[in-house]
Symmetry: C2
Subunit: 211 residues, 2 copies
Protein backbone atom coordinates (compact mmCIF):
# COMPACT_ATOMS: atom_id res chain seq x y z
CA UNK A 1 0.00 0.00 0.00
CA UNK A 2 1.48 3.36 -1.00
CA UNK A 3 2.19 5.81 1.74
CA UNK A 4 -0.16 8.75 2.24
CA UNK A 5 0.70 11.15 -0.57
CA UNK A 6 2.13 14.52 0.22
CA UNK A 7 -0.27 17.29 -0.80
CA UNK A 8 2.03 18.03 -3.73
CA UNK A 9 2.54 14.87 -5.67
CA UNK A 10 3.81 15.22 -9.16
CA UNK A 11 0.49 14.73 -10.88
CA UNK A 12 -1.26 17.10 -8.52
CA UNK A 13 1.30 19.78 -9.12
CA UNK A 14 0.99 19.28 -12.83
CA UNK A 15 -2.75 19.88 -12.68
CA UNK A 16 -2.26 22.83 -10.36
CA UNK A 17 0.27 24.45 -12.64
CA UNK A 18 -1.88 23.89 -15.68
CA UNK A 19 -4.87 25.47 -13.98
CA UNK A 20 -2.73 28.35 -12.76
CA UNK A 21 -1.52 28.98 -16.27
CA UNK A 22 -4.94 28.60 -17.88
CA UNK A 23 -6.57 31.01 -15.44
CA UNK A 24 -3.85 33.60 -15.95
CA UNK A 25 -3.99 33.11 -19.71
CA UNK A 26 -7.76 33.60 -19.81
CA UNK A 27 -7.44 36.93 -18.04
CA UNK A 28 -4.59 38.18 -20.18
CA UNK A 29 -6.14 37.03 -23.46
CA UNK A 30 -9.41 38.70 -22.43
CA UNK A 31 -7.75 42.00 -21.58
CA UNK A 32 -5.25 42.22 -24.42
CA UNK A 33 -6.55 39.93 -27.15
CA UNK A 34 -4.49 37.14 -28.69
CA UNK A 35 -2.10 39.48 -30.45
CA UNK A 36 -1.70 41.84 -27.54
CA UNK A 37 -1.12 39.12 -24.98
CA UNK A 38 2.46 38.02 -24.34
CA UNK A 39 3.69 34.81 -22.80
CA UNK A 40 5.75 36.89 -20.41
CA UNK A 41 2.64 38.68 -19.14
CA UNK A 42 0.81 35.40 -18.63
CA UNK A 43 3.85 33.97 -16.88
CA UNK A 44 4.07 36.94 -14.53
CA UNK A 45 0.36 36.73 -13.69
CA UNK A 46 0.72 33.01 -13.02
CA UNK A 47 3.87 33.57 -10.98
CA UNK A 48 5.97 31.20 -13.08
CA UNK A 49 8.98 31.67 -15.33
CA UNK A 50 8.11 31.95 -18.99
CA UNK A 51 10.03 28.85 -19.97
CA UNK A 52 7.81 26.85 -17.64
CA UNK A 53 4.74 27.83 -19.64
CA UNK A 54 6.31 26.41 -22.74
CA UNK A 55 6.89 23.15 -20.89
CA UNK A 56 3.15 22.69 -20.31
CA UNK A 57 1.91 24.38 -23.48
CA UNK A 58 4.40 24.18 -26.34
CA UNK A 59 3.11 27.23 -28.19
CA UNK A 60 1.10 30.36 -27.46
CA UNK A 61 -1.56 29.12 -29.84
CA UNK A 62 -1.93 25.76 -28.08
CA UNK A 63 -2.44 27.58 -24.78
CA UNK A 64 -4.98 29.87 -26.39
CA UNK A 65 -6.79 26.96 -27.97
CA UNK A 66 -7.13 25.25 -24.59
CA UNK A 67 -8.52 28.43 -23.05
CA UNK A 68 -11.14 28.79 -25.76
CA UNK A 69 -12.10 25.13 -25.57
CA UNK A 70 -12.65 25.38 -21.82
CA UNK A 71 -14.90 28.39 -22.31
CA UNK A 72 -16.90 26.59 -24.95
CA UNK A 73 -17.40 23.72 -22.50
CA UNK A 74 -18.75 25.99 -19.74
CA UNK A 75 -21.01 27.57 -22.31
CA UNK A 76 -22.50 24.33 -23.54
CA UNK A 77 -23.08 22.93 -20.06
CA UNK A 78 -24.96 26.02 -19.00
CA UNK A 79 -27.19 25.63 -22.03
CA UNK A 80 -28.58 22.34 -20.81
CA UNK A 81 -31.28 24.10 -18.79
CA UNK A 82 -32.91 24.93 -22.10
CA UNK A 83 -33.90 21.34 -22.71
CA UNK A 84 -35.16 20.35 -19.31
CA UNK A 85 -38.05 22.79 -19.49
CA UNK A 86 -41.61 22.18 -20.57
CA UNK A 87 -42.66 25.72 -21.36
CA UNK A 88 -40.88 28.57 -23.20
CA UNK A 89 -41.09 30.73 -20.07
CA UNK A 90 -39.21 28.13 -18.06
CA UNK A 91 -36.67 27.16 -20.70
CA UNK A 92 -35.79 30.58 -22.00
CA UNK A 93 -36.06 32.18 -18.60
CA UNK A 94 -33.69 29.67 -17.07
CA UNK A 95 -31.34 30.02 -20.04
CA UNK A 96 -31.20 33.78 -19.57
CA UNK A 97 -30.52 33.32 -15.86
CA UNK A 98 -27.74 30.83 -16.55
CA UNK A 99 -26.07 33.00 -19.17
CA UNK A 100 -26.32 36.10 -17.01
CA UNK A 101 -24.62 34.21 -14.21
CA UNK A 102 -21.78 33.28 -16.54
CA UNK A 103 -21.46 36.87 -17.69
CA UNK A 104 -21.24 37.96 -14.10
CA UNK A 105 -18.84 35.38 -12.71
CA UNK A 106 -16.89 34.37 -15.82
CA UNK A 107 -16.59 37.54 -17.88
CA UNK A 108 -13.06 36.91 -19.11
CA UNK A 109 -14.14 33.74 -20.85
CA UNK A 110 -16.93 35.53 -22.67
CA UNK A 111 -14.52 38.20 -23.82
CA UNK A 112 -12.05 35.69 -25.19
CA UNK A 113 -14.85 34.00 -27.09
CA UNK A 114 -16.05 37.31 -28.48
CA UNK A 115 -12.56 38.29 -29.51
CA UNK A 116 -12.01 34.95 -31.21
CA UNK A 117 -15.26 35.19 -33.19
CA UNK A 118 -14.62 38.82 -34.12
CA UNK A 119 -11.29 37.80 -35.62
CA UNK A 120 -13.09 35.27 -37.83
CA UNK A 121 -12.52 32.35 -35.43
CA UNK A 122 -9.09 31.26 -36.69
CA UNK A 123 -8.77 28.72 -33.90
CA UNK A 124 -12.27 27.35 -33.27
CA UNK A 125 -13.92 27.55 -36.68
CA UNK A 126 -14.46 23.78 -36.63
CA UNK A 127 -16.41 24.10 -33.36
CA UNK A 128 -18.67 26.70 -34.92
CA UNK A 129 -19.33 24.44 -37.88
CA UNK A 130 -20.02 21.28 -35.89
CA UNK A 131 -20.95 21.52 -32.22
CA UNK A 132 -22.39 25.01 -32.23
CA UNK A 133 -24.33 24.47 -35.45
CA UNK A 134 -25.81 21.25 -34.11
CA UNK A 135 -26.72 22.84 -30.79
CA UNK A 136 -28.32 25.81 -32.51
CA UNK A 137 -30.43 23.71 -34.85
CA UNK A 138 -31.56 21.54 -31.94
CA UNK A 139 -32.70 24.55 -29.94
CA UNK A 140 -34.35 26.09 -33.00
CA UNK A 141 -36.37 22.91 -33.38
CA UNK A 142 -37.55 23.13 -29.79
CA UNK A 143 -38.58 26.75 -30.29
CA UNK A 144 -40.43 25.85 -33.46
CA UNK A 145 -42.30 23.13 -31.61
CA UNK A 146 -43.30 25.62 -28.93
CA UNK A 147 -44.57 27.94 -31.63
CA UNK A 148 -46.51 25.16 -33.35
CA UNK A 149 -48.09 24.30 -30.02
CA UNK A 150 -49.21 27.90 -29.67
CA UNK A 151 -47.15 28.42 -26.54
CA UNK A 152 -45.36 31.51 -27.87
CA UNK A 153 -45.54 34.03 -30.69
CA UNK A 154 -44.23 32.97 -34.11
CA UNK A 155 -40.76 34.52 -34.14
CA UNK A 156 -37.74 33.41 -36.12
CA UNK A 157 -35.93 30.97 -33.79
CA UNK A 158 -32.45 31.88 -34.99
CA UNK A 159 -32.87 35.59 -34.47
CA UNK A 160 -34.35 34.90 -31.05
CA UNK A 161 -31.28 32.86 -30.13
CA UNK A 162 -28.98 35.60 -31.41
CA UNK A 163 -30.84 38.09 -29.24
CA UNK A 164 -30.44 35.86 -26.21
CA UNK A 165 -26.72 35.49 -26.80
CA UNK A 166 -26.19 39.14 -27.61
CA UNK A 167 -28.09 40.50 -24.64
CA UNK A 168 -26.66 38.20 -21.98
CA UNK A 169 -23.07 38.28 -23.21
CA UNK A 170 -23.24 42.06 -23.52
CA UNK A 171 -23.08 42.29 -19.73
CA UNK A 172 -19.69 40.51 -19.82
CA UNK A 173 -18.16 41.79 -23.04
CA UNK A 174 -19.23 45.41 -22.49
CA UNK A 175 -19.03 45.22 -18.71
CA UNK A 176 -16.56 48.07 -18.62
CA UNK A 177 -18.91 50.34 -20.57
CA UNK A 178 -21.82 49.42 -18.30
CA UNK A 179 -19.67 50.04 -15.25
CA UNK A 180 -18.67 53.45 -16.56
CA UNK A 181 -22.30 54.36 -17.26
CA UNK A 182 -23.08 53.20 -13.73
CA UNK A 183 -20.95 55.97 -12.30
CA UNK A 184 -17.76 53.93 -12.41
CA UNK A 185 -19.14 51.36 -9.97
CA UNK A 186 -19.64 47.68 -10.79
CA UNK A 187 -23.26 46.58 -10.76
CA UNK A 188 -24.44 45.74 -7.25
CA UNK A 189 -26.28 42.53 -6.39
CA UNK A 190 -29.58 44.35 -6.67
CA UNK A 191 -28.60 45.85 -10.01
CA UNK A 192 -27.65 42.44 -11.37
CA UNK A 193 -31.03 41.13 -10.29
CA UNK A 194 -32.70 44.09 -11.97
CA UNK A 195 -30.70 43.41 -15.15
CA UNK A 196 -31.75 39.76 -15.20
CA UNK A 197 -35.33 40.76 -14.49
CA UNK A 198 -35.39 43.39 -17.24
CA UNK A 199 -33.91 41.08 -19.84
CA UNK A 200 -36.29 38.26 -19.02
CA UNK A 201 -39.27 40.58 -18.86
CA UNK A 202 -38.69 42.24 -22.22
CA UNK A 203 -37.77 39.10 -24.10
CA UNK A 204 -40.45 36.86 -22.63
CA UNK A 205 -43.14 39.46 -23.25
CA UNK A 206 -41.57 40.01 -26.65
CA UNK A 207 -42.19 36.41 -27.64
CA UNK A 208 -45.75 36.52 -26.32
CA UNK A 209 -45.22 34.60 -23.10
CA UNK A 210 -47.05 35.76 -20.01
CA UNK A 211 -44.51 36.71 -17.38
Amino acid sequence: MPQMQKPNSKKERRLESEKLILDAAEKVFAEAGFGGATMQLIADMAGLPKANLHYYFPTKESLYRQVVQNIFQVWLEAADVFDKAETPAEGIGAYIDAKMEISRHHPAGSKVWASEVMHRAPVIQDYLETTLTDWTEGRATIIERWIAEGRMAPVDPHHLLYMLWATTQHYADFGHQIETLNGGEPLSDAQWDAAKQSVKEIILRGIGVTV
Copy 2:
Protein backbone atom coordinates in the same frame (compact mmCIF):
# COMPACT_ATOMS: atom_id res chain seq x y z
CA MET B 1 -7.96 83.74 -60.50
CA PRO B 2 -6.07 80.48 -59.91
CA GLN B 3 -5.99 78.02 -62.72
CA MET B 4 -8.24 74.97 -62.56
CA GLN B 5 -6.59 72.70 -59.97
CA LYS B 6 -5.26 69.36 -60.99
CA PRO B 7 -7.25 66.58 -59.36
CA ASN B 8 -4.28 66.00 -57.09
CA SER B 9 -3.46 69.21 -55.37
CA LYS B 10 -1.43 69.01 -52.23
CA LYS B 11 -4.29 69.42 -49.79
CA GLU B 12 -6.51 67.02 -51.69
CA ARG B 13 -3.87 64.35 -51.69
CA ARG B 14 -3.34 64.81 -48.00
CA LEU B 15 -7.00 64.17 -47.29
CA GLU B 16 -7.04 61.29 -49.73
CA SER B 17 -4.05 59.63 -48.11
CA GLU B 18 -5.45 60.12 -44.64
CA LYS B 19 -8.75 58.55 -45.65
CA LEU B 20 -6.93 55.71 -47.38
CA ILE B 21 -4.93 55.02 -44.25
CA LEU B 22 -7.89 55.34 -41.89
CA ASP B 23 -10.01 52.96 -43.95
CA ALA B 24 -7.25 50.39 -44.09
CA ALA B 25 -6.51 50.82 -40.41
CA GLU B 26 -10.14 50.29 -39.47
CA LYS B 27 -10.23 46.98 -41.30
CA VAL B 28 -6.95 45.73 -39.90
CA PHE B 29 -7.70 46.81 -36.34
CA ALA B 30 -11.10 45.12 -36.61
CA GLU B 31 -9.67 41.86 -37.89
CA ALA B 32 -6.57 41.62 -35.70
CA GLY B 33 -7.22 43.85 -32.71
CA PHE B 34 -4.89 46.63 -31.63
CA GLY B 35 -2.14 44.29 -30.50
CA GLY B 36 -2.40 41.97 -33.48
CA ALA B 37 -2.47 44.73 -36.06
CA THR B 38 0.85 45.87 -37.51
CA MET B 39 1.67 49.12 -39.21
CA GLN B 40 3.15 47.11 -42.06
CA LEU B 41 -0.16 45.31 -42.62
CA ILE B 42 -2.08 48.58 -42.62
CA ALA B 43 0.45 50.08 -45.00
CA ASP B 44 0.14 47.15 -47.39
CA MET B 45 -3.64 47.34 -47.34
CA ALA B 46 -3.49 51.08 -47.99
CA GLY B 47 -0.89 50.59 -50.74
CA LEU B 48 1.61 52.93 -49.13
CA PRO B 49 5.06 52.48 -47.65
CA LYS B 50 5.07 52.12 -43.90
CA ALA B 51 7.12 55.25 -43.35
CA ASN B 52 4.38 57.24 -45.03
CA LEU B 53 1.90 56.17 -42.39
CA HIS B 54 4.17 57.57 -39.72
CA TYR B 55 4.28 60.85 -41.61
CA TYR B 56 0.51 61.29 -41.27
CA PHE B 57 0.06 59.54 -37.94
CA PRO B 58 3.14 59.70 -35.73
CA THR B 59 2.33 56.59 -33.68
CA LYS B 60 0.21 53.47 -33.98
CA GLU B 61 -1.84 54.65 -31.04
CA SER B 62 -2.63 58.03 -32.60
CA LEU B 63 -3.86 56.27 -35.74
CA TYR B 64 -5.96 53.93 -33.63
CA ARG B 65 -7.37 56.81 -31.64
CA GLN B 66 -8.48 58.57 -34.81
CA VAL B 67 -10.17 55.39 -36.06
CA VAL B 68 -12.11 54.97 -32.83
CA GLN B 69 -13.12 58.63 -32.76
CA ASN B 70 -14.50 58.40 -36.28
CA ILE B 71 -16.55 55.36 -35.34
CA PHE B 72 -17.94 57.12 -32.33
CA GLN B 73 -19.01 59.99 -34.58
CA VAL B 74 -20.92 57.71 -36.99
CA TRP B 75 -22.53 56.08 -34.00
CA LEU B 76 -23.76 59.29 -32.45
CA GLU B 77 -25.11 60.69 -35.68
CA ALA B 78 -27.14 57.57 -36.32
CA ALA B 79 -28.63 57.93 -32.87
CA ASP B 80 -30.32 61.18 -33.74
CA VAL B 81 -33.37 59.39 -35.11
CA PHE B 82 -34.21 58.55 -31.54
CA ASP B 83 -35.13 62.11 -30.71
CA LYS B 84 -37.13 63.08 -33.74
CA ALA B 85 -39.87 60.60 -32.92
CA GLU B 86 -43.10 61.17 -31.05
CA THR B 87 -43.89 57.61 -30.07
CA PRO B 88 -41.72 54.80 -28.69
CA ALA B 89 -42.59 52.63 -31.68
CA GLU B 90 -41.24 55.26 -34.07
CA GLY B 91 -38.18 56.26 -32.06
CA ILE B 92 -36.98 52.85 -30.98
CA GLY B 93 -38.00 51.23 -34.25
CA ALA B 94 -36.06 53.80 -36.26
CA TYR B 95 -33.09 53.47 -33.91
CA ILE B 96 -33.02 49.72 -34.40
CA ASP B 97 -33.21 50.19 -38.17
CA ALA B 98 -30.37 52.71 -38.13
CA LYS B 99 -28.12 50.59 -35.95
CA MET B 100 -28.80 47.46 -37.99
CA GLU B 101 -27.81 49.38 -41.12
CA ILE B 102 -24.53 50.36 -39.48
CA SER B 103 -23.91 46.77 -38.43
CA ARG B 104 -24.49 45.68 -42.00
CA HIS B 105 -22.52 48.31 -43.88
CA HIS B 106 -19.94 49.35 -41.28
CA PRO B 107 -19.13 46.18 -39.36
CA ALA B 108 -15.42 46.88 -38.97
CA GLY B 109 -16.12 50.02 -36.99
CA SER B 110 -18.40 48.19 -34.61
CA LYS B 111 -15.74 45.54 -34.04
CA VAL B 112 -13.07 48.10 -33.25
CA TRP B 113 -15.39 49.75 -30.78
CA ALA B 114 -16.20 46.41 -29.15
CA SER B 115 -12.55 45.50 -28.95
CA GLU B 116 -11.68 48.83 -27.40
CA VAL B 117 -14.38 48.55 -24.74
CA MET B 118 -13.50 44.92 -23.99
CA HIS B 119 -9.93 46.00 -23.29
CA ARG B 120 -11.23 48.49 -20.73
CA ALA B 121 -11.26 51.43 -23.16
CA PRO B 122 -7.65 52.57 -22.71
CA VAL B 123 -8.03 55.11 -25.49
CA ILE B 124 -11.59 56.41 -25.29
CA GLN B 125 -12.40 56.21 -21.60
CA ASP B 126 -12.99 59.97 -21.52
CA TYR B 127 -15.62 59.63 -24.27
CA LEU B 128 -17.45 57.01 -22.26
CA GLU B 129 -17.46 59.25 -19.21
CA THR B 130 -18.62 62.39 -20.97
CA THR B 131 -20.34 62.15 -24.34
CA LEU B 132 -21.71 58.63 -24.03
CA THR B 133 -22.87 59.15 -20.46
CA ASP B 134 -24.68 62.34 -21.42
CA TRP B 135 -26.27 60.74 -24.45
CA THR B 136 -27.42 57.75 -22.43
CA GLU B 137 -28.98 59.82 -19.67
CA GLY B 138 -30.76 61.97 -22.24
CA ARG B 139 -32.28 58.95 -23.95
CA ALA B 140 -33.18 57.38 -20.61
CA THR B 141 -35.11 60.52 -19.77
CA ILE B 142 -37.06 60.28 -23.01
CA ILE B 143 -37.90 56.65 -22.29
CA GLU B 144 -39.01 57.53 -18.78
CA ARG B 145 -41.28 60.20 -20.17
CA TRP B 146 -42.83 57.70 -22.57
CA ILE B 147 -43.41 55.36 -19.65
CA ALA B 148 -44.96 58.12 -17.53
CA GLU B 149 -47.27 58.96 -20.42
CA GLY B 150 -48.38 55.34 -20.52
CA ARG B 151 -47.06 54.84 -24.03
CA MET B 152 -44.98 51.78 -23.14
CA ALA B 153 -44.49 49.26 -20.35
CA PRO B 154 -42.44 50.35 -17.32
CA VAL B 155 -39.05 48.84 -18.08
CA ASP B 156 -35.67 50.00 -16.82
CA PRO B 157 -34.46 52.47 -19.48
CA HIS B 158 -30.78 51.61 -19.10
CA HIS B 159 -31.26 47.90 -19.52
CA LEU B 160 -33.49 48.56 -22.52
CA LEU B 161 -30.72 50.65 -24.10
CA TYR B 162 -28.15 47.94 -23.37
CA MET B 163 -30.42 45.43 -25.06
CA LEU B 164 -30.75 47.66 -28.13
CA TRP B 165 -26.97 48.09 -28.39
CA ALA B 166 -26.24 44.44 -27.71
CA THR B 167 -28.74 43.06 -30.18
CA THR B 168 -27.98 45.36 -33.08
CA GLN B 169 -24.21 45.34 -32.69
CA HIS B 170 -24.24 41.56 -32.37
CA TYR B 171 -24.94 41.33 -36.10
CA ALA B 172 -21.65 43.15 -36.76
CA ASP B 173 -19.41 41.89 -33.97
CA PHE B 174 -20.54 38.26 -34.29
CA GLY B 175 -21.19 38.44 -38.01
CA HIS B 176 -18.77 35.63 -38.64
CA GLN B 177 -20.57 33.33 -36.24
CA ILE B 178 -23.93 34.20 -37.78
CA GLU B 179 -22.53 33.61 -41.24
CA THR B 180 -21.21 30.21 -40.20
CA LEU B 181 -24.56 29.26 -38.69
CA ASN B 182 -26.14 30.40 -41.95
CA GLY B 183 -24.35 27.65 -43.84
CA GLY B 184 -21.24 29.74 -44.45
CA GLU B 185 -23.18 32.29 -46.49
CA PRO B 186 -23.54 35.96 -45.59
CA LEU B 187 -27.09 37.01 -44.80
CA SER B 188 -29.04 37.83 -47.96
CA ASP B 189 -31.06 41.01 -48.38
CA ALA B 190 -34.19 39.14 -47.37
CA GLN B 191 -32.46 37.66 -44.34
CA TRP B 192 -31.27 41.08 -43.21
CA ASP B 193 -34.84 42.34 -43.51
CA ALA B 194 -36.03 39.37 -41.48
CA ALA B 195 -33.39 40.08 -38.85
CA LYS B 196 -34.45 43.71 -38.56
CA GLN B 197 -38.08 42.67 -38.44
CA SER B 198 -37.49 40.04 -35.75
CA VAL B 199 -35.48 42.38 -33.55
CA LYS B 200 -38.04 45.16 -33.81
CA GLU B 201 -40.95 42.79 -33.30
CA ILE B 202 -39.60 41.14 -30.15
CA ILE B 203 -38.33 44.31 -28.53
CA LEU B 204 -41.31 46.51 -29.35
CA ARG B 205 -43.74 43.87 -28.16
CA GLY B 206 -41.44 43.34 -25.19
CA ILE B 207 -41.89 46.92 -24.09
CA GLY B 208 -45.62 46.77 -24.59
CA VAL B 209 -45.88 48.70 -27.83
CA THR B 210 -48.35 47.53 -30.43
CA VAL B 211 -46.45 46.63 -33.58
